[in-house]
């Protein structure tokens, strides 16, 4: 599988291969592997970026729906610390490749199996961070809210969750990172994300390989930047004053 390196350790060929990759993203290239068929190009790149985004958004949404209420409830009750933290630690140890591989060979290929599999990887960081974030909310604030006659649900929604936003969003961002990264190997399970350029290097060639890497990296950094922006929007001004 290991092909000979096409570039030696000199800056010029390195720049040339990056140039080739950028060209691949925008204009279809004649592949020397598929016998004259054109591969890559802007339309194909856009199609794969959108698919990658779609899988990521669906998986992140599922992870949020499962982990956020659970973490909020456990943190509020102060129960299940061992459960939440245990899930978090075990979640970190799960090899992403094995999850995608098992889903592909046991359950089947396609978006409907890959998205839940990716969601599983995102659940752990969101659950732990929500638990920790809510758990460390100043008990005085919760007592004050209770004294004002707020219901337990209101306390969770209006006091604990807003105060835990920075920690919760830390978990959401960690989940987004692992989901975007793992979506790169989703082509192994029949979902054509940007990883297609990377995994099917026999179709797209060296330029495609590098183009895929560039696009995945840019996508991850963009999503991460947007989530950081969202975090600062969601964090109340009072909390920001304290941290600065």
């Amino acid at each position: 599988m290991a092909k000979g390196e096409s570039a030696v350790n000199l800056p010029h060929p390195v720049l040339a291969s990056f140039g080739g990759a950028v060209e691949f993203i925008f204009t279809p290239q004649t592949s020397n592997v598929t016998g004259g068929n054109k591969v890559g190009g802007f339309d194909k790149s856009l199609e794969l970026v959108l698919k990658h985004l779609e899988v990521t958004v669906i998986a992140l949404a599922i992870a949020l729906i499962v982990a956020l209420p659970l973490g909020l409830y456990l943190g509020h009750r102060g129960k299940g610390e061992l459960f939440a933290v245990g899930i978090g630690n075990a979640g970190r140890a799960i090899p992403e490749l094995a999850v995608i591989a098992l889903v592909a060979v046991l359950i089947g290929v396609g978006l409907q199996t890959v998205a839940p599999a990716l969601a599983i990887l995102g659940i752990a960081p969101i659950l732990v961070n929500t638990y920790v974030g809510v758990h460390q909310v100043d008990p005085a604030a919760v007592e004050a809210a209770r004294g004002m006659g707020m219901s337990e649900l209101d306390i969770m929604r209006k006091v604990e969750l807003p105060l835990a936003v920075p920690t919760v969003m830390g978990g959401v961002r960690a989940a987004a990172i692992v989901i975007i990264a793992t979506a790169t190997i989703a082509p192994l399970a029949g979902v054509e994300t940007l990883g297609d350029f990377i995994i099917n290097r026999n179709v797209y060639g060296e330029n495609g390989l590098l183009a895929g890497a560039i696009l995945v990296a840019l996508l991850a950094l963009t999503i991460e930047g947007l989530l950081a922006l969202l975090q600062s929007r969601l964090t109340s001004d009072g909390l920001k004053l304290k941290t600065v």
Partner: protein, 246 residues
Amino acid sequence: MASPFLIAAGEVGGDFFHERSSGTLPCQAQSSHLFCWDWARENIDRYGTPTVQHLEIVLLSVAIGFIVAFALALIAHRTRWLQPPLLTATGILYTIPSIAFFFLLLPVTGFGRDTAIIVLSAYTLQIIYRNTVLGLANVPASVKDAARGMGFTSRQILWKVELPLALPEIIAGLRIAVVSTIAIATLVVFISAGGLGTQIYGSGNLTFPTSIVIAMAIVMTMAFLFDLVLLTAQRLATPWRRARAL
């Protein structure tokens, strides 16, 4: 739409699926059965070399990552204004998905273990750096004042007071770094660097459930054992402090 190798995924990859003595399948290893004990018993020895490779890559990566992150944290501890830019820089390295990172380095370092180790060690920087800075910042000023009052120099305060007190946070960061690196190191198969990933995705094909489960079990056991060793080391090294559950 199915990708080309998916069609090939069901095909037999070399002698991988066969019992080596007779050349026949000991049980339905290739089918959708989750686990085939017969095959596992016959073939468990083929996981030795990948496990050792995996361990080597993880240990080298975390060691390099730790040295760099620790040095950065000490510099940032003394030069406060460096803290935000260093956090952003290590954060960017952490955000780039590892597979993308492998192939971004491909024109420079090529296929193989070097690229794998560079990427995996870059990955550990943020968590170790952040926890070390945090641990040093959490040392109470009164303790440092007391040490200064006893005539400690700045260097002595750092090595004899601040770092020992920051040890729980530093080791907490190291634990996260080691555990996640053990898991992520399965991906180095894409850059032809070996490791347990080869038993999940070998010669361009996914293997089959039994092999994937064995590789996954070895990875997770390895992660659990390292976590336990580091936790124990931390408790032994900080007898004055009861280790917290987190």
